[in-house]
C-alpha cells in the first residue's frame, strides 16, 4: 500500500531569505549567498500493508509532519521514492481551503473537491455533513459570519465523511465544545478502526498503544526503530526518562 524507500529530504537554508530580484543578483554576484544544508529526513525506509494502522512517534521537530507531507505528495523527497496506492485523505490542518465569502453550503462542495471527493459523493453525503456539523440553517450564511468553533465543526465534518483507502492523521482532532469533542473523537476512532490504512502521528502514547498495529520512531530526521507497538513504545518511554 505505502512503500517508502530510502527517503531523504534536504533543505538549503539561506542565511537571509532573498525576496527581490535586485537583492538576489547583487548577492549572487558578490558570492554572498551561502547555503547551509539541513537534512530534515534521512534514509527513511519502511512499508505499510493494507489495513494497517501505523503510529509515528518522536519529539517535536523530529520530522514527523514532514514525512506525512511527503507521503501525501505535498513535498517531494530530495532522494528516494514513495509509492502510494489508493486515495489519500490528509487530515493535516482542517479548513485550509475555506473561502470566507462563500456560504457553508458552497464551502462544503469547494472543500470536498479540494480533498478529492467526487461530485456525486458530495451530493449524496451533503445532508450527512450538515447534520454532523450541527450547523442547521446557518449553512446558507457566508463563512465570515461563523464563529471559529462553527468553522472547525464544518471542516471536521467534511474531512471525516469519507472512507478513504489511506488516512493521514496529524494528532487526533478533537474540536468544538465538550459534546462535539466526544462526538468527533468517536468518529475518528470509527474511521481508524474501519479497515483503512492509517498513518497516525501522536504524542499521546496511550492512544498509540490503543490504536496502532505498528510504530515508527523518528528522531532528528533519522529512523530510530520500526516494529511492534509495545516494544517500540517502551523503548521510546525509556529514552524520554533517560533524558
Amino acid at each position: 500500500m505505502i512503500t517508502v524507500k530510502n527517503v531523504s529530504i534536504r533543505y538549503l537554508m539561506i542565511y537571509d531569505r532573498v525576496k527581490s530580484i535586485k537583492e538576489y543578483i547583487v548577492q549572487k554576484l558578490k558570492g554572498e549567498i551561502k547555503y547551509e544544508e539541513f537534512w530534515a529526513l534521512k534514509n527513511i525506509d519502511f512499508e505499510v500493508k493494507k489495513g494497517e494502522v501505523v503510529g509515528i512517534i518522536g519529539h517535536n521537530g523530529a520530522g514527523k509532519s514532514t514525512l506525512l507531507k511527503i507521503i501525501s505528495g505535498i513535498l517531494k523527497p530530495t532522494e528516494g521514492s514513495v509509492n502510494v496506492q489508493g486515495v489519500v485523505v490528509p487530515m493535516l490542518e482542517l479548513g485550509s481551503g475555506f473561502d470566507q465569502d462563500l456560504t457553508g453550503r458552497e464551502n462544503i462542495f469547494l472543500n470536498g473537491a479540494i480533498l478529492g471527493y467526487s461530485e456525486e459523493f458530495l451530493k449524496e453525503k451533503y445532508d450527512e455533513i450538515v447534520e454532523f456539523s450541527e450547523l442547521g440553517k446557518f449553512i446558507e450564511i457566508p463563512l465570515r459570519n461563523y464563529s471559529s468553533g462553527m468553522i472547525m465543526r464544518l471542516a471536521f465534518s467534511i474531512a471525516t465523511v469519507v472512507n478513504p483507502d489511506i488516512l493521514i492523521v496529524d494528532e487526533i482532532l478533537a474540536v468544538g465544545d465538550a459534546d462535539f469533542q466526544a462526538k468527533s473523537k468517536a468518529r475518528m476512532m470509527e474511521l481508524m478502526g474501519g479497515g483503512t490504512t492509517v498513518l497516525f502521528v501522536s504524542h499521546t502514547l496511550d492512544q498509540i498503544r490503543e490504536m496502532c498495529d505498528k510504530v515508527l520512531w523518528i528522531e532528528h530526521g533519522q529512523m530510530q526503530a520500526f516494529g511492534e507497538t509495545e516494544e517500540i513504545c517502551n523503548k521510546y518511554e525509556q529514552s524520554c526518562i533517560g533524558e
Binding site: 527581490s20 535586485k22 505535498i74 481551503g97 469547494l110 479540494i114 471527493y117
Partner: protein, 483 residues
C-alpha cells in the same frame, strides 16, 4: 482508464475533427484559396488631359498577383455633362487584347473613384500589362479625363515617387512626367487552398493512428504520459469546476449589480475611449466603436487573466502546503474564470454590432480559434508569472508596468496604419496584435483571414504557453519551500 470511455472519447474527437475540417473549408471560402493583393494609389495631383479620339493614353502596369480582378481609377468631368463612352483595354506584353470594358461617360462623377471589376478574373502572363484608354467618339469640349500623380504618401508625408520611364503614362506614344492613379486588385492562388483536402486527410489519418495507439496502450495497462493527462483531467475536473465557480462567485459577491459588471465594464471603457478618440483625437477608422470594443475586450481578458494567475500560487499558499493537488490547476482555474468573463463581455460586443448595423457573417464562427489562441497565451504567461511570483515578489509590480507597455504595443484604440515600418517587426512578435487583428477581420470585414494569419496567431500564442509550462514544471517542486 475505462476502455469504453476512451473509445467514446476517441470517436467523438474524430467526428468533431471531420465536422470542423468541413466547416472550416466552407466558412474560410475564397480567403483560403486566393490571396488578394491591393496596390496603393498615388496621390492624385493632376489630370492627364482630355481623352478624345485623337488622344489615346497607354499606361503599363505591374501587379503582384496572377489574376486581375479589379481596377479603380479616379475620374474628372471638367464639371460638365459629357457624352459617349470611355474604353479601357487590357493589353498584354505581346500586344494582344485580353479584355475590354466600355464605360458610359455620363455615369462618371467629378473627382470620384470608380471601380472596374473583372468578375471572372483575367489571367495575365508575367503579371504585366498595358492599360489602353481611349474614347473613340469624344471630341474636345465633350470628353472626360482621369487623375494622375507623381507623389506617394508615407505615413504623414508626401514624397515624390520614383517613376521610371516605363511607368510613365504615354500620350500617343509620348511619355509624360506622371503616372496614372490606379488601384490594382489582383489575387494569387494559394497552395493552402489547393492542398487543403490532402492536408486534412493526412491529419485525420494521424489522429486515427494515434487513437488506436492510445487504445492499445490502455488495454495493455501501459503507462503513457498522454493517457495520464486524461486521467488527471477526469479526476480533477470537479475541483477545477469548483475553483472556477469560487473565483467567479467571490468576484462580484458584495456588489449590487453583480455579474452585470462583466457586461458593463467593457462597455463603459469603450464609451469613454470612444468619446475621447472620436472628439479630442480624431480617428478615421471605419466602424470605430466595434474596432475599439474588440481591442478592449481582448486586452482586458489578457490583463485580468495574467494578473489573477500571477497570484494563483502565492494566494493559495495555505492550500498548497496542506493538500496535494497538481499545482498547475491554480493558474489554470484563474485563467478559466477570466475566460468566462471574457465570453460574457462578448454579449455587449454583440449588442454594439447590432446597433452599428455591422452585418454578422458566418465568418464569426471562426471566433473560437482566436479565443483558444488567446487562452493559451494567457495561460502561458500566467504560469510563468505565477512561478516567478513565488521566488520574487517584485513580479507583481513589474508586471503592472509591463502589461501597460503591452497595451500600448497593441493597436487597441489606434489604427494599424500609423505604425511605422521600422517598428513593425516588434508588432509582429506581439501575439496580442495577431489575435486582435484576427478577430477584427472576422467580425468587421466578415471574412476569414488569410491562412498565414492562422499560423501566426497559433505560433505566437503557443510559444509563450510552452515557455510558461516549462518554467512552471521546472520550478513547481520548489514552490513549497518559498511560500
Amino acid at each position: 482508464m475505462n476502455a469504453k470511455k476512451l473509445k467514446k472519447g476517441c470517436i467523438i474527437a474524430l467526428i468533431l475533427y471531420v465536422i470542423l475540417a468541413i466547416m472550416f473549408y466552407v466558412i474560410g471560402g475564397q480567403q483560403l484559396q486566393y490571396r488578394t493583393v491591393k496596390t496603393d494609389m498615388l496621390n492624385p495631383s493632376m489630370v492627364i488631359g482630355e481623352i478624345t479620339k485623337e488622344n489615346v493614353f497607354e499606361q503599363s502596369l505591374k501587379m503582384e498577383g496572377d489574376i486581375l480582378t479589379e481596377l479603380s481609377l479616379m475620374g474628372a468631368t471638367y464639371q460638365r455633362e459629357n457624352t459617349g463612352t470611355l474604353s479601357l483595354e487590357i493589353v498584354d506584353l505581346d500586344g494582344q487584347i485580353l479584355a475590354k470594358r466600355d464605360i458610359k461617360v455620363d455615369t462618371l462623377k467629378d473627382n470620384e473613384v470608380f471601380h472596374v471589376p473583372f468578375y471572372d478574373g483575367i489571367n495575365i502572363p508575367e503579371n504585366r500589362f498595358v492599360l489602353r484608354i481611349s474614347a473613340p467618339e469624344a471630341t474636345e469640349g465633350n470628353a472626360v479625363t482621369l487623375y494622375a500623380g507623381n507623389t506617394v504618401s508615407t505615413s504623414r508625408y508626401e514624397v515624390s515617387a520614383p517613376i521610371s520611364i516605363d511607368d510613365k503614362i504615354k500620350l500617343n506614344g509620348q511619355p509624360q512626367e506622371y503616372m496614372l492613379c490606379v488601384d490594382i486588385i489582383s489575387s494569387q492562388e494559394l497552395l493552402f487552398g489547393q492542398y487543403y483536402w490532402y492536408g486534412a486527410l493526412a491529419i485525420l489519418l494521424i489522429l486515427v493512428v494515434f487513437c488506436i495507439y492510445l487504445y492499445r496502450k490502455n488495454q495493455n495497462k501501459m503507462h503513457s504520459r498522454i493517457l495520464n493527462v486524461f486521467i488527471v483531467m477526469e479526476r480533477y475536473q470537479y475541483l477545477i469546476k469548483q475553483l472556477v465557480a469560487r473565483d467567479f462567485k467571490t468576484k462580484y459577491k458584495r456588489s449590487v449589480l453583480g455579474i452585470f459588471w462583466s457586461f458593463l465594464n467593457p462597455l463603459l471603457t469603450m464609451l469613454v475611449q470612444y468619446v475621447i478618440f472620436s472628439t479630442i483625437f480624431k480617428s478615421d477608422i471605419p466602424n470605430f466603436a466595434v474596432y475599439l470594443l474588440i481591442g478592449i475586450v481582448c486586452y482586458s481578458f489578457f490583463s485580468e487573466a495574467t494578473t489573477m494567475a500571477l497570484g494563483a500560487i502565492v494566494s493559495n499558499a495555505t492550500l498548497i502546503t496542506k493538500v496535494y493537488v497538481p499545482k498547475y490547476i491554480y493558474p489554470l482555474t484563474r485563467v478559466m474564470s477570466s475566460a468566462i468573463n471574457f465570453l460574457l463581455a462578448m454579449i455587449p460586443l454583440g449588442i454594439v454590432l447590432v446597433i452599428t448595423r455591422t452585418p454578422i457573417k458566418p465568418a464569426i464562427l471562426l471566433l473560437p480559434f482566436a479565443v483558444i489562441c488567446l487562452f493559451m497565451l494567457c495561460l502561458g504567461i500566467g504560469m510563468f508569472l505565477a512561478s516567478s511570483m513565488v521566488f520574487f515578489r517584485d513580479t507583481q509590480f513589474l508586471w503592472g508596468v509591463v502589461s501597460m507597455l503591452w497595451m500600448y504595443a497593441t493597436p487597441i484604440f489606434y489604427p494599424e496604419t500609423i505604425i511605422a515600418d521600422e517598428i513593425m517587426p516588434i508588432y509582429k512578435c506581439n501575439p496580442l496584435y495577431h489575435v486582435v487583428r484576427f478577430i477584427r477581420i472576422i467580425i468587421i470585414d466578415g471574412v476569414s483571414p488569410e491562412p498565414k494569419a492562422y499560423v501566426l496567431c497559433l505560433i505566437t500564442c503557443i510559444i509563450p504557453l510552452l515557455i510558461g509550462a516549462f518554467v512552471f514544471k521546472k520550478s513547481q517542486d520548489k514552490f513549497i519551500l518559498n511560500l
